[in-house]
Structures are given as C-alpha cells and as structure tokens.
Amino acid sequence: MSSTSTRETQILADPDVPLIRITREFDAPPSKVFRAHTDPELLARWLGPSRHEMRVTAYDCRTGGSFRYELSSNGNAFGFHGCFHEVRPDELIVQTFTFEGEPDGVALERMQLEDLGGGRTRLTVTSLVDSFAARDAWLSSGMEEGVREGYERLDALLG
C-alpha cells in the first residue's frame, strides 16, 4: 500500500516483519536534512503533530547519546525517549524509541539519507516494533479523531 506521487510520502507496512517503512524526498542536500534531525530547535519545529507542542528535554544526537521529549496538547503531556545507537553525519541515524506510557515497549528506528544529487535527498525511515499487534496499533494511533471515526464506521458496518 503506497502512494502515487514520487515526491509525496510513501508508506509500506511490511507483511513479514512488524515494520513500517516511510520514504520521502526533499529539495535539500543530505547535510541540511541531517541537521534538521539533529538540532533540537529545528526538530521541535517539524516533528510533533501540528496540534501538539513539542518540548525537547534532552537531545544528544551522537553515537551512544540519548534523547527525551514531550508532546502536549490541552494540558496532557506524553513523554518519549530513546538512545542513539549509531549516528553518521549526513547518512544515518539508528535509534531506539519508547513511548513512556508504555515503558516496556521499544521500537528500533533507522533513518537513512540518500544523496540524489542536485541538492536533493531521499529519506527512508524504518520502524521495527515488537509485534504485529503493536505495529498495527501504532498504525492506527496518533490520529485520535481518525480512530474514533474508524471505530464508529466499523461499528456501523458490523452493527
């Protein structure tokens, strides 16, 4: 299940392992895309959902470093943290990712930058989670009204 345009985000839910792969191209060289991932001030401007405020409490984007941030909306804050396992400038970030509401769960994320030449970059992000159930819950999460709407439609269908 992927999209049509070459430029727009493409997404793949792998059928054999609990993995989500996202691909997107940018009109910027790898060095800038890398910087937007490693500079917490820049990161806070794009990473969190638009309705949430993102507060970065720790961000040491180096091999062996760690990070923590909070997303808040309507007075509710959710924390996320993880470790940077491998960071190679302009090329690769491998990190773990945990939602603090479910501290035993951990995803392994890999962000790879590919230089397309002419000042363009292809970003490929893979997130490997512990189980298909967790992956599918993740796919259907982070879109509160979407899920609610989904439930309602499903209820109507199954009614």
Binding site: M1, T9, I11, D136, L158
Partner: protein, 117 residues
Amino acid sequence: MAADPLSQVLSALADPTRRDMVARLAVADATVIELAQPYDVSLQAVSKHLKVLEEADLVSRRREAQRRPVHLEAEVFDLMTRWIERYRRQAEARYQRLDDVLGSIPDDVAPPTGAAK
C-alpha cells in the same frame, strides 16, 4: 465476542498467511481448496485461518452455494487501507513542515557535526 471490532480486525490481519489470503480474495472469491493450494498446510489449518477472518467480519461465506466460496468484505478491508492512508498523510504533513524548516536553513552555514548544544 468480547474483543472490540477494531482489535479483532487488526489481530486477524496480524498473521502473514491470513494477510496473504485476504490479498488473494481481493482479486476474486475462492473456495477453501483453492485458498489452500499455495500453502504447505492442511485444509484444516486453512479453515482455522478462515474462521478468524470470518469472526473479524473480514470475509463471509455464502451458505446456499455448494462450493461455499469465500468472499472478502471489501468495506472492512478498505477501512484498514484508509487508516494506513491517514497515517501516511500525517507523515506527509510532518515532512511538509520539514520542507519549510529546510528552506529556512541558510546554505553557507556549516552544519554542526552531530552534537546538540
């Protein structure tokens, strides 16, 4: 069934064989025997998978027909596709924000190597 419908659909689709069966049923209805052909498993095992899909209302079987072909309930399946599409659009919205951030980074500034302040 106590489990909520969403979880049922998600867990029914959590198995690779069942996902493969759903993918094949998206093309055309099929009998249990036809469905079993590509797999190295018993008809019984295939029937078990079908039962899970049926309980999640992802597939139905016509009672009257002799062959009882299995039919994909496309509406429920479309719902999953829409969730994935919504997730994709959310990622796209995030990366459009990143486009703006990238546009604001001056060309002549050397990027700091890795370490944040």
